[in-house]
């Protein structure tokens, strides 16, 4: 049944170019197939609309020739731009973006490879400073925790020994 559907044929051939046998085949098929019927009606309308639109043609106005010749003269009289300027106008934005990107990448490369840079020195100094605020707050807190834990361990050990002795 599927091979008798006509939608593909409607899309392949201009509606005006369908032969009588094709039209007959379409009409017998659409009597039983709603989907193809809708497609057939739409294709017929599309063809009508295109024909109506094609029949409209604008003709050259009385001053068209003079207008084109004036534009040609104007273009001829205009001083020709230097080749480099024309090239820059065409590719300027792309070239400047590439140069900017290259400069940024070069800067990043140089900056990350130099160990004596001020930033890296500052980071190193901060990491070795035992009296930094981070050290005082965090490390001291840990030490207190450790001491408490040791006391607990010792107390537990003594308790165990006492238990054994008894």
């Amino acid at each position: 049944m599927a091979d008798t559907h006509i939608i593909k044929m409607l899309d392949e051939t201009p509606f005006g170019g369908l032969r009588d046998s094709d039209i007959a085949r379409c009409e017998s098929h659409i009597a039983a197939c709603e989907q193809c019927k809708a497609a057939y009606e739409a294709a017929r309308l599309a063809s009508s609309l295109i024909q109506a639109r094609t029949s409209e043609t604008v003709n050259a106005g009385p001053f068209f020739k003079a207008r084109v010749l004036a534009a040609i003269r104007e273009r001829r009289l205009a001083p020709e731009e230097p080749v480099l300027l024309r090239m820059w106008r065409a590719a300027g934005a792309m070239v400047s973006t590439m140069v900017l990107l290259l400069a940024v990448l070069t800067g990043i490369t140089i900056f990350t490879q130099n160990p004596d840079s001020q930033w890296q020195t500052a980071i190193a100094a901060a990491s070795e400073n035992l009296y930094s605020p981070e050290y005082v707050v965090l490390e001291r807190g840990d030490r207190d925790d450790d001491e408490l834990a040791n006391d607990q361990v010792l107390g537990t050990m003594y308790d165990l020994e006492d238990g054994d002795g008894q």
């Binding site: 939608i7 392949e12 609309l49 295109i50 604008v58 068209f64 040609i72």
Partner: protein, 196 residues
């Protein structure tokens, strides 16, 4: 002579080929000012590129190709949006479609008013298609140009023209189906592959 910048010779080209150039530009634009602008730009381009014309095909075909490319570029760069969408029918469009469905003769538009309404509606539907599709539909389905001529005009291969025409017809048909039966069109779009 025109190649050497002879204005008189170019005047002759203008006189002889203006109808063809205007016919091509009219496929893309409807407003006379827009058609004239496109035609003028096409002739200016032809004047500056005349030295590159190798004389292989006809000068008329070469000019048609320049015009078609010019119009496609103009439509693309302006990113023209249709002033009204296909789903918005005017007071005239509805009766026209109903008459068409009732089987009123479509071969000859009985009055100029009817023809104008049909052309308005066509423009609405066509302006939603990509410029390439529009060119192919207007040339093959409208003017009954052979695929070979359209291929020559656009510089595409014949198979590309055929594929373009196939897709353009489907899009146009689906746009009209959407107008006529909005729900059924949605179904067909989804199930089109099985049905096609």
């Amino acid at each position: 002579m025109a190649r050497d910048g002879n204005e008189r010779a170019f005047e002759e080209i203008l006189r002889r080929y203006s109808p063809r150039v205007f016919r091509v530009a009219s496929r893309f634009f409807r407003q006379p000012a827009a058609v004239e602008d496109a035609a003028q730009e096409a002739f200016l381009k032809a004047y500056t590129q005349l030295s590159s014309y190798e004389g292989r095909g006809s000068l008329e075909g070469w000019l048609a190709r320049i015009t078609a490319n010019q119009c496609i570029n103009m439509l693309r760069s302006a990113k023209r949006r249709p002033e009204s969408t296909v789903s918005e029918l005017t007071d005239h469009d509805g009766p026209w479609l109903e008459n068409q469905l009732a089987g009123v003769s479509t071969e000859r538009h009985e009055s100029s008013e009817r023809g104008r309404v049909a052309a308005d509606l066509a423009e609405k539907v066509l302006s939603e298609l990509p410029p390439d599709d529009r060119l192919v539909l207007m040339s093959i389905d409208g003017e009954q140009l052979p695929v070979k001529d359209v291929a020559q005009m656009t510089g595409w291969s014949e198979s590309k023209v055929k594929v373009r025409a196939f897709r353009a017809r489907r899009r146009m048909r689906q746009a009209i189906q959407k107008l006529l039966h909005p729900r059924a069109a949605g179904k067909e779009e989804k199930g089109g592959e099985h049905h096609g």
